[in-house]
């Protein structure tokens, strides 16, 4: 609550400083705005920016470092027998946090930990108080310095515009920052993982059973971290999804673009888009509670042994989810094929379907391939449907009626619940995440390359 209060206080200070900066500029102008270099509002904005920006910057830096600094201070004071063992340390830190939050009465822990908990609470309140004081100080200093600088000769507009331009650049840079953040956070933990598990074993191993790694009596045995079964499972579900999404998506794009009347389009197109807007957790529920039992029961009638977490159910529903993606992308591509090609084909006596199959489709093929690749990358990264409808056991099979597991399912199961960042089990999720990120990134780059390289130029 104090955070939002602090933000409100800074916002109020900014508003005040805008008002006073403006007033001062008006007063200094002697009633004639033409005496000023810039508009009065520019002077106000100048003061407000100098009030708000340093304070918010401080807040940001503070929050980035507060947690780790305080933790380092607490750990430094703990006895060596706790800090030497990482497992015990994380346990102790948890209880310390609970004690600090006044929730730890039921814990039976050593007095050092209780002391540390009190110290943590103490440090936190000190940190919060000093943050408030510092922020207000910075804001007030910013106001007073910039307020004194106000002068009819001062180029307030240029100043404000320069600042705002840098703010815009900083905002654009966030796109780079988040990519860098993704790469580094994945790489950091993945390298951690690869220091425990051989990357070759991870990438080419045939057995995946990470759960064994945490059993206390099996500390020596590492569990099995061969990710091939996960890749096979992911691929199987993706292929099933593509078998649904590509034909249905392509044909509906063709019908929408070439045959449908504008009235039909106006209704059917948004209806198809609804499929894209349904949250994936809803598809997951649908797959797990409607499609999977349906397949199992009908499979039983046909004498097939369909698993209740079959790859088929997850793949079919995922395919439905991707239909609008394929259809809208290929619709775009096909509508870019110039009318003259169609007219030429019709002029030779071809029917509409012959024109589509033999003229438009080949001309649009690179774009369609790109669209399919993007759809594949989306299917590989899709999480909720497979988490809810696919299995957990890493079976090496290409039988769509059996349960398989995927990369994303494993990431979720490994990271939901308690996490220990020193066990290979938790870290393997980041290695899987890295693989996932690189594969989807590669697919996207490749798709764009295909589209650019083979695009026919018609101008």
């Amino acid at each position: 609550m104090s955070l939002s209060f602090l933000l409100l206080a800074v916002a109020a200070l900014c508003a005040l400083s805008f008002y006073f900066g403006r007033q001062r500029a008006v007063a200094l102008s002697g009633g004639r705005h033409s005496n000023l270099h810039s508009l009065p509002a520019h002077y106000g904005t100048y003061v407000a920016l100098w009030c708000g920006m340093p304070a918010l910057l401080l807040l940001l830096v503070w929050y980035v470092f507060q947690g780790s600094v305080i933790e380092a201070m607490i750990v430094a004071e703990l006895p060596a027998e706790i800090t030497s063992d990482t497992g015990q340390l994380s346990l102790a830190l948890n209880s310390i946090a609970l004690i600090a939050a006044d929730n730890g009465q039921h814990l039976s822990v050593s007095p050092e930990v209780i002391d540390a908990g009190r110290r943590l609470a103490n440090l936190q309140s000190i940190a919060n108080a000093s943050l408030v004081v510092l922020m207000l100080c910075v804001a007030v200093i910013g106001i007073s310095v910039s307020y004194r600088k106000i002068d009819p000769e001062m180029r307030a507009r240029n100043n404000v515009e320069r600042i705002s331009r840098w703010m815009m650049i900083a905002c654009s840079a966030i796109a780079i920052l988040s990519t860098v953040g993704i790469v580094f956070s994945l790489l950091f933990e993945a390298l951690h993982f690869f220091s425990k598990i051989n990357p070759v074993e991870f990438l080419f191993g045939l057995e995946w059973s990470p759960q064994t790694a945490i059993r206390a009596d099996q500390v020596a045995s590492e569990g099995a971290f061969g990710a091939i079964p996960l890749f096979v499972g992911t691929l199987l579900i993706t292929v099933i999804a593509m078998c649904v999404a590509v034909p249905v998506g392509l044909f509906s794009a063709i019908y929408m673009g070439e045959y449908a009347s504008s009235k039909f389009r106006a209704i059917a197109k948004p209806a198809l888009e609804i499929l894209a807007g349904v949250p994936t957790v809803v598809y997951g529920f649908f797959a797990a509670l409607t499609v999977a039992p349906f397949l199992r029961d009908n499979g039983a009638i046909l004498g097939l042994d369909v698993s209740s977490e079959s790859a088929l159910a997850a793949g079919l529903v995922m395919g439905v989810m991707i239909i609008p993606f394929v259809s809208s992308l290929s619709d775009d591509v096909m509508s870019q094929v110039p009318q003259s090609l169609r007219d030429g084909s019709y002029g030779l006596g071809a029917t509409k379907s012959e024109t589509i199959r033999n003229v438009i489709f080949p001309a649009a093929l690179p774009g369609i391939v790109g669209a399919v690749l993007l759809a594949v990358s989306r299917a590989i990264g899709e999480t909720m449907i497979v988490v809810m409808a696919a299995g957990l056991a890493a079976n090496m099979t290409v039988n769509p009626l059996q349960a398989v597991t995927t990369v994303t399912v494993q990431i979720v199961t490994l990271l939901v619940g308690d996490q220990e960042f020193d066990s290979a089990k938790t870290l393997s999720a980041f290695a899987l995440g890295l693989v996932l990120f690189l594969v989807t990134l590669g697919l996207n780059v490749f798709a764009l390359k295909v589209v650019q390289k083979y695009r026919e130029k018609y101008d």
């Binding site: 796109a175 059917a268 949250p279 957790v281 649908f286 012959e354 939901v416 980041f430 989807t440």
Partner: protein, 449 residues
């Protein structure tokens, strides 16, 4: 390809005929007529494929909506049982203090149990008694307490009170438990179904609108679980997402569209935005887990962390939509403003941005709708915890609507299936509202230059 071949065949046949006879094509030739018939049939088939593809997609949509609707609508109603409750002063307030603290501590559960026993006095075995108490939900005693605290004059009286029933009886009343199945294969035994039938024949079992579903937080008991906690969590999460991603996204879009020079930095930013738009959402969850929780030590399960994670995810959507909207403003507007002496920043803030705002807002709403439906990254940052309390701020532990759906979908109780479907209906209603508003904005402010 066969059609092209047949077209060629067609032409070749025509050519042969015309060459031979030095006459125009003989369209009445049965060979050509057959071929044309074949080609037209192929044409009709092809058209049918297209139409049936759309049909399949729409059919699945209908099945999806139908299965969720048919499973979920019953969750908006809940079975209540009317019991004669004696508000015994000896239990509620033995000393007659009238002190709310004393009344609050009283054993209202005992009152409910006594009423049930009076209704079915022949139940004596311990296990049967426990089953008997299952008719009424454990939450009913809280309702009684509220009632008495609100109106202390009830103490000492005997009233007929509608009490919320337990989930198994609710399921039975809604017809989800088949009494014809073998006893060992259903949740309720014959005796319990007998009690139910007795109660029904007395007319004391009714379905009422289930307002608790909309006003309470999560619970282990299906009949007490509600979505308000998750809805509030979603609200705080989206608030954080919006306050971060909207200004950052719009500023970045303005920079890239209006000010950015063509240099390496700009090129890298463009590539990054396009790639971020295609990164799987779960990878953002891993980023959030590592950066916000492990490095910055922000509180787990808090909407702040969820909002920060989702903000990075929605950023590309907002930037791309805003750029398109800014690009759609014709250059003449800018030239006019610049010609009148406005600075480039003034041109943008006074003229371009207001004209592009409807488009930007549309894109933002669509991005927010995506964020509202997102589940996977939030699982990574611990928003899957079981949280009963309604969060009071962005730093409290919370869950969000889609994650609540995921949690309920995983619960074994039959009654949670209808809760899940009902929560999905609520989530979809929000999404429809948001997207509808976006469409309305676009229609209303759409401008042709």
């Amino acid at each position: 390809m066969t059609d092209m071949a047949s077209l060629m065949e067609d032409r070749a046949a025509a050519k042969v005929i015309s060459d031979k006879m030095q006459k125009p094509v003989d369209w009445d030739n049965p060979k050509i007529a057959r071929n044309i018939k074949k080609r037209y049939a192929a044409e009709r088939r092809f058209k049918m494929y297209g139409l049936s593809a759309i049909g399949i997609a729409l059919l699945v949509l209908c099945v999806l909506a139908g299965s969720i609707g048919s499973k979920g609508y019953t969750a908006f109603f809940q079975t209540f049982v009317q019991l004669e409750i004696h508000f015994d002063p000896a239990v509620i307030d033995p000393d007659g203090t009238g002190d709310p603290a004393v009344i609050g501590r009283a054993n209202f559960d005992g009152l409910v149990k006594r009423a049930l026993q009076e209704k079915f006095p022949d139940v004596t075995a311990r296990r049967d008694k426990r089953n008997l108490y299952g008719i009424v939900s454990g939450g009913a005693s809280y309702d009684l307490r509220e009632r008495v605290l609100e109106n202390p004059s009830l103490i000492g009286q005997t009233r007929k009170v509608w009490l919320i029933s337990g989930d198994d009886f609710d399921m039975l009343n809604k017809g989800y438990i088949d009494a014809d199945v073998d006893e060992s294969n259903r949740r309720l035994n014959d005796q319990e179904i007998g009690w139910y039938n007795t109660l029904v024949s007395e007319g004391v079992v009714e379905k009422h609108f289930h307002s608790r579903f909309f006003t309470s937080g999560d619970s282990r008991e299906p009949e007490l679980a509600g979505i308000w906690g998750a809805a509030v969590g979603s609200f705080y999460t989206l608030l954080v997402t919006l306050t971060l991603s909207f200004p950052i996204g719009v500023l970045a879009a303005i920079y890239l569209e209006e000010f950015a020079p063509k240099n390496r930095f700009t090129a890298i930013v463009e590539v990054n935005i396009n790639n971020l738009a295609a990164v799987p959402s779960i990878v953002f969850g891993l980023l959030g887990l590592e950066v916000y929780l492990n490095v910055m030590h922000l509180p787990r399960s808090a909407p702040v962390v969820g909002g920060l994670t989702l903000a990075l995810m929605t950023l590309p959507t907002i930037i791309i939509a805003s750029r398109a909207a800014i690009k759609a403003v014709p250059p003449s507007i800018r030239q006019a403003a610049l010609g009148l002496g406005a600075s480039p920043v003034q041109t943008v803030t006074h003229h371009v941005l207001p004209l592009a705002m409807p488009g930007i807002l549309t894109g933002t709403i669509i991005g927010m709708a995506q964020a509202l439906g997102e589940t996977a990254p939030l699982l990574m940052i611990g928003m899957v915890a079981f949280i009963v309390d309604v969060p009071g701020g962005a730093l409290d532990p919370a869950t969000v609507l889609p994650v609540q759906i995921y949690l309920w979908a995983d619960s074994p109780e039959r009654a949670f299936v209808e809760k899940t479907s009902a929560a999905i209906m609520v989530l979809l209603a929000f999404l429809v509202l948001m997207n509808g508003f976006a469409v309305y904005l676009r229609k209303k402010f759409e401008r042709k230059w």
